[in-house]
C-alpha cells in the first residue's frame, strides 16, 4: 500500500505532455489512495487537511467522526463531485484530478454508493430501480436482466422484485439501494450512514449484508455514527476530526481506547 518507488523511467505520451503524476501507484494493490489531500471550499472553510489514506483491495473500513469532521467532503471527493484543492485522489489507479468530464461517469461506475435516505425512485419497482443504474449507463438489454436478478438474489430481494419502494420496509429499501450499488460490479462500495434511518436489528442485517459483500471481494468504506457496530466488529477504523485523520487503526473501536 505504499507509493511506488520513484524510479519509473517510462513515461506515457500523456505524462510527457502534462507532467508525470506526483504519485505513481501500484494500482492492482490499492483501490483508493489519498495523498496529502486538502479541500478548501470557496467560502474559505477548510473541510479536509493533509489527509493521507490508502485502502487496499478487499478492505472493510469504517469512517467515523463527529458531524462536520469532513466525512461528507471526503466521500464527495471520491465520487468526484468535488475536486481536491491540493493533493491527489487516486481511485483504482486513476488520478481523479486528471479526468476529463467524459471520463467521470466511467469512473463513477467503479463505485457503488449507498445513502442514509436510500434515494430510490418511488415510481419504479425494486427491479426497475436496480435496472435503472444499468439502463442509464447504456448497458445492452440482454445483459441487464441476468445482472439485476443476480444482485437481487444476493441481497435477498428476489421475491420483492415487482414491489414499489413504498411497499417495502426500511431495511428492504436499503437492500434495494445496495443491490443498485452492486449491479455495476464496483471496485468500491461507499456507504454513507447506511443504517442511520434504521432500527438496531435492521442495522445489523444491513451490516451483515455489507460484510458478506466484502467477503466476495468488494472493498467497503462505510461512514457511520453507529458506535455499537463499529466497536463490535473490530474492523479498520479511520477517525476524522476537524478535517484531519486523528486515528487509523485496524481492529479499532468507535471511541479511542485509552
Amino acid at each position: 500500500m505504499t507509493l511506488a518507488p520513484p524510479e519509473s523511467p517510462v513515461l506515457t505520451l500523456r505524462e510527457r505532455l502534462f507532467g508525470a503524476p506526483r504519485v505513481r501507484v501500484a494500482a492492482e494493490r490499492a483501490v483508493l489512495i489519498l495523498h496529502d489531500v486538502t479541500k478548501t471550499y470557496p467560502n474559505g472553510k477548510e473541510a479536509l487537511r493533509d489527509v493521507d489514506l490508502v485502502i487496499p483491495e478487499g478492505d472493510f473500513v469504517f469512517l467515523v467522526g463527529p458531524s462536520g469532521a469532513g466525512k461528507s467532503t471526503l466521500l464527495k471527493l471520491l465520487i468526484r463531485d468535488e475536486l481536491a484543492t491540493r493533493g491527489d485522489v487516486i481511485l483504482d489507479g486513476q488520478d481523479l484530478a486528471r479526468l476529463s468530464r467524459r471520463q467521470v461517469p466511467k469512473v463513477r461506475r467503479k463505485i457503488g454508493i449507498v445513502f442514509q435516505d436510500f434515494k430510490l425512485l418511488p415510481t419504479k419497482s425494486v427491479w426497475e430501480n436496480v435496472a435503472f443504474a444499468l439502463e442509464v449507463t447504456g448497458t445492452p438489454r440482454r445483459r441487464i436482466r441476468p445482472a439485476v436478478d443476480r444482485v437481487l438474489a444476493l441481497v435477498g430481494l428476489t421475491a420483492q422484485a415487482p414491489q414499489f419502494p413504498a411497499q417495502l420496509s426500511g431495511g428492504e429499501q436499503q437492500r434495494t439501494a445496495i443491490a443498485r450499488a452492486l449491479v455495476h460490479d464496483p471496485r468500491l462500495i461507499i456507504a454513507d450512514e447506511p443504517t442511520g434511518n434504521l432500527d438496531p436489528l435492521i442495522s445489523w442485517e444491513i451490516l451483515q449484508l455489507l460484510l458478506r459483500i466484502n467477503e466476495l471481494g468488494v472493498t467497503v468504506l462505510m461512514a457511520t455514527h453507529n458506535a455499537d457496530v463499529v466497536t463490535a466488529l473490530r474492523k479498520r477504523v479511520v477517525a476524522l476530526e476537524e478535517g484531519r485523520i486523528i486515528r487509523d487503526e485496524v481492529g479499532g473501536t468507535y471511541h479511542r481506547m485509552d
Partner: protein
C-alpha cells in the same frame, strides 16, 4: 447509436406519463403561450399589410400639356419607368380621364355634369406608382422639370406625415411582437424548468450511478420536444376551430389587403410548431445543464 435514441425516446415517453400532472401543466402553459404568440403575430401581420396598403396609395400624377406629341409622351413614359424609384407608369389619355370621371360619378349615383360641356375638360396625365413612398420628393422634382409636364401636385408634406405614422406603427408593432416573444420564451422555459427540477433526485441518482451526460440530457430534451409538439398540435387545433369564424369576421379585411388566409395559416403553422418544439427543447436543455455542470 440507434439504441441510444430508442432508449432516450422511451425514457422521454415514460417521463412524460409518469409525471403526468407536471407534463400536462407544462403542455397547458405551452398551448396558452403559443396562442398568445399566434394572436399577436396575426395582428402584426395585419398591421404590416395595412401599412403597406396605405403606403402603396402614395402615387404621383403629372399633368401633361394638351399639345404634347405622342412621341414625347412615349419618351417620357419610358424614361420615368426606367427610374430606379419608380414601380410603374400608366399613361392616362384625355378620353380615358373623362371615362374614369364618368364611371366614378355613376358609381356614386350622381349626375354626370360633363355631358353639358362641348369639349373634354380633362388633361392627359401619367400616373406613377413608387417603389418606396419615401422617394416621393425625388421623383416629383424630376417630373416638374420635364417640358411637356404642365404641373405636378406636391403632397410631399402629407406623404412625410403618413410615413411618420406608418414607420412608427411598424416599429411599435415589431417591438411589441418582440416583447411578447421574449415573454413567451421565458414563461415556457421556466415551466419546463419546473418540470425538470421536480425530478432533480432522478437526475442526481443518474449522475451517481455513472450515467454519462448524454444519457441524462437527451431523454429530457426529447420530453421537452414532446411537450412542445403536443402543445403546438393543440394550439393549432384551437386556431383551426376558430379559423372559420375568424376568416368570416376578417373577410373584408382580407379582401382589401394584399393578404391571403392560406399563406397566413401556413406561416402560422410553421411559427407555432417551430416555437413549440424549439422552446421545449431549449427549456429542457438549459434546465438539465444546471445539473450536469459541476
Amino acid at each position: 447509436m440507434i439504441s441510444f435514441v430508442a432508449f432516450s425516446l422511451k425514457r422521454a415517453w415514460q417521463g412524460f406519463w409518469r409525471n403526468a400532472l407536471m407534463s400536462l401543466a407544462a403542455t397547458a402553459t405551452m398551448v396558452l403561450m403559443l396562442l398568445l404568440l399566434s394572436g399577436f403575430w396575426i395582428i402584426h401581420t395585419g398591421l404590416l399589410a395595412a401599412l403597406n396598403f396605405t403606403e402603396s396609395k402614395v402615387n404621383i400624377e403629372a399633368k401633361l400639356f394638351d399639345n404634347a406629341a405622342d412621341f414625347q409622351v412615349q419618351d417620357l413614359t419610358v424614361r420615368v419607368a426606367a427610374m430606379p424609384e419608380v414601380a410603374g407608369v400608366e399613361y392616362i389619355s384625355r378620353d380615358e380621364a373623362l371615362k374614369r370621371f364618368r364611371a366614378n360619378r355613376a358609381a356614386q349615383h350622381q349626375d354626370d355634369l360633363t355631358q353639358f360641356l362641348d369639349s373634354n375638360p380633362f388633361h392627359a396625365s401619367i400616373e406613377i406608382s413608387l417603389r418606396d413612398p419615401a422617394q416621393y420628393g425625388v421623383v416629383q422634382q424630376r417630373l416638374t422639370q420635364e417640358p411637356i409636364v404642365s404641373g405636378v401636385e406636391n403632397i410631399q408634406s402629407l406623404v412625410t406625415r403618413v410615413l411618420t405614422v406608418t414607420n412608427f406603427l411598424r416599429t411599435a408593432g415589431a417591438v411589441i411582437l418582440f416583447v411578447i416573444g421574449i415573454i413567451v420564451l421565458f414563461i415556457i422555459v421556466n415551466t419546463i424548468r419546473l418540470a425538470v427540477v421536480a425530478r432533480a433526485e432522478e437526475i442526481e441518482i443518474m449522475r451517481l450511478v455513472g450515467a454519462s451526460d448524454a444519457f441524462i440530457r437527451w431523454p429530457f430534451v426529447f420530453e421537452g420536444a414532446l411537450v412542445g409538439l403536443l402543445g403546438a398540435l393543440i394550439a393549432l387545433g384551437v386556431l383551426g376551430a376558430a379559423s372559420d369564424a375568424l376568416s368570416r369576421f376578417m373577410f373584408d379585411f382580407f379582401r382589401v389587403l394584399p393578404l391571403t388566409f392560406g399563406s397566413l395559416a401556413r406561416d402560422l403553422a410553421v411559427i407555432v410548431f417551430g416555437a413549440g418544439v424549439g422552446l421545449g427543447i431549449l427549456g429542457s436543455w438549459v434546465s438539465v445543464r444546471t445539473y450536469l455542470i459541476r
